[in-house]
């Protein structure tokens, strides 16, 4: 994909609600990416987007059930890990490097589940270090939630535009990076 080969780059989107996944699909298509219906190692792959699900409503640590923590949070991290392994296998089959983009759930007031976001962040960095020599880039998009200094909430199109950038050859030297899309919330 990075060499602008004659055939269009192939991307797969794993996870995500239909609205966000749809926005990402549209943004990738605008970049000339052919978006596959499913991740199929035999077809080869250039771009993998994994969109983590929100795992809980706002809850305190005290009210968080251990079963939910291991089942839902652990399950989502595992899903990210499995998607990464499958995606990388498919990229290796094609042998042209690739780009992985994780999309974290919005940072909000899910105190006990912030661990998912940070787990995905560190998975991103570790994978970036390991896969860099193969030309496979790994980055994470971190959407915000709720009110922002810019005065509006983060829209699916905002997240999708950052995903499309991170997946594109325009981010050729970017790996292991956080791409925050939160209208200035974290800066405040």
């Amino acid at each position: 994909m990075e060499d602008a080969a004659t055939s269009p780059p192939v991307g797969a989107i794993v996870g995500g609600d239909p609205v966000l996944a749809g926005a990402v699909r549209e943004a990738l298509r605008r970049e000339g990416v052919e978006v596959a219906e499913r991740l199929d190692a035999a077809e080869g792959l250039d771009i993998l987007v994994f969109i983590a699900r929100e795992v809980a409503a706002s809850v305190s640590f005290a009210a968080t059930r251990v079963e939910d923590l291991s089942g839902r949070l652990g399950g989502e991290l595992k899903a990210a890990f499995v998607a990464l392994q499958d995606g990388v296998s498919a990229m290796r089959a094609k042998g042209a490097g690739g780009a992985v983009v994780f999309v974290s759930p919005p940072s909000a007031d899910h105190r006990a589940f912030d661990a998912l976001q940070q787990g995905l962040r560190l998975l991103t960095k570790a994978a970036a270090l390991e896969l860099g020599p193969e030309g496979i880039r790994v980055n994470i998009v971190l959407p915000g939630a709720g009110d922002t200094p810019l005065g509006r909430a983060c829209a699916p199109a905002d997240v999708a535009a950052s995903v499309a950038f991170a997946a594109s050859p325009r981010a050729h030297f970017m790996t292991g990076a956080d791409l925050v899309v939160d209208g200035g919330r974290l800066a405040a």
Binding site: G132, A161, S162, R170, F173, A177
Partner: protein
């Protein structure tokens, strides 16, 4: 074809070489009208000529970024010759590799004036110019990976680039509250093969290879990659992105 910054006026400081030069050319390819600034008049004339040769639009304005009078002149010329200002790229920077104990007060002061005072004036006067344009705007401050992590032998540089990181976050919050709003983000390049690096370490292929080997992606950073990231931070794709630190370093900082 309509570019990502079609007809928008952007000021790029330090546009005579390195990242700034490549950024000015890339923005012009995306339809921007670029005010290229710097101290090197010859370099300024040649980048404007190269942009014109690609049918782009640009002017050169001599500029010492630490001087407010120079900034005011840059903005007047951009507004009168190109139109209302949309964006500023505070790219001009000084680099110094010297152990803390050997760095003089004067050397520290020089670094501070160019790297911090220059960006401060660019944001402050950029805010005013963007307000006069009547439309939202965007500012990109070029910090460094060395504005996020320490690097032995570069105290003054790291301190000034760290200051740019903090300046950016506060400016982003103030910029978001302005009418019309201004987004402000910082870019944190890793090792990029430019005159800034070769001027300190020498222009030597073995060294470039060593930097590449020390980078997870195993390639040397090129100004073009930074131009692409700056274009992203300036354009509408990042409409909801402000106050962020975007690290583009081949994975060096992920370790």
């Amino acid at each position: 074809m309509t570019g990502r910054l079609q007809d928008r006026v952007v000021i790029v400081t330090g546009a005579t070489k390195g990242i700034g030069r490549e950024t000015a050319k890339q923005l012009a390819r995306e339809g921007a009208k670029v005010a290229c600034t710097g101290r090197d008049r010859e370099g300024g004339a040649s980048v404007v000529a190269e942009i014109a040769a690609e049918d782009g639009r640009a002017i050169f304005v001599p500029h010492d970024v630490a001087r407010e009078a120079d900034w005011r002149n840059v903005i007047v010329r951009a507004e009168t010759e190109l139109g209302g200002v949309y964006g500023v790229v505070n790219n001009a920077g000084a680099f110094l590799v010297k152990p803390l104990a050997e760095t003089s007060e004067a050397e520290f002061q020089d670094m501070f004036e160019i790297n911090v005072q220059g960006a401060f004036l660019g944001v402050k006067l950029g805010f005013e110019a963007i307000a006069r344009s009547g439309a939202p705007g965007a500012i990109v401050n070029v910090s460094s990976l060395m504005g996020q992590v320490g690097f032995p032998g570069a105290t003054a540089y790291c301190a000034t680039k760290g200051a740019v990181t903090g300046l950016t976050k506060t400016a982003a919050i103030e910029g978001a509250a302005r009418t019309p709003p201004v987004r402000v983000n910082s870019l944190h390049p890793g090792v990029i093969w430019t005159p800034m690096i070769t001027g300190q370490f020498g222009d030597d292929q073995a060294l470039a290879d060593a930097f590449a080997a020390d980078t997870p992606l195993k390639i040397i950073g090129l100004p073009q990659y930074m131009a692409d990231a700056i274009l992203f931070l300036l354009g509408d794709e990042s409409a909801h992105v402000t106050g962020i630190e975007l690290t583009v370093d081949g994975g060096r900082g992920a370790d």
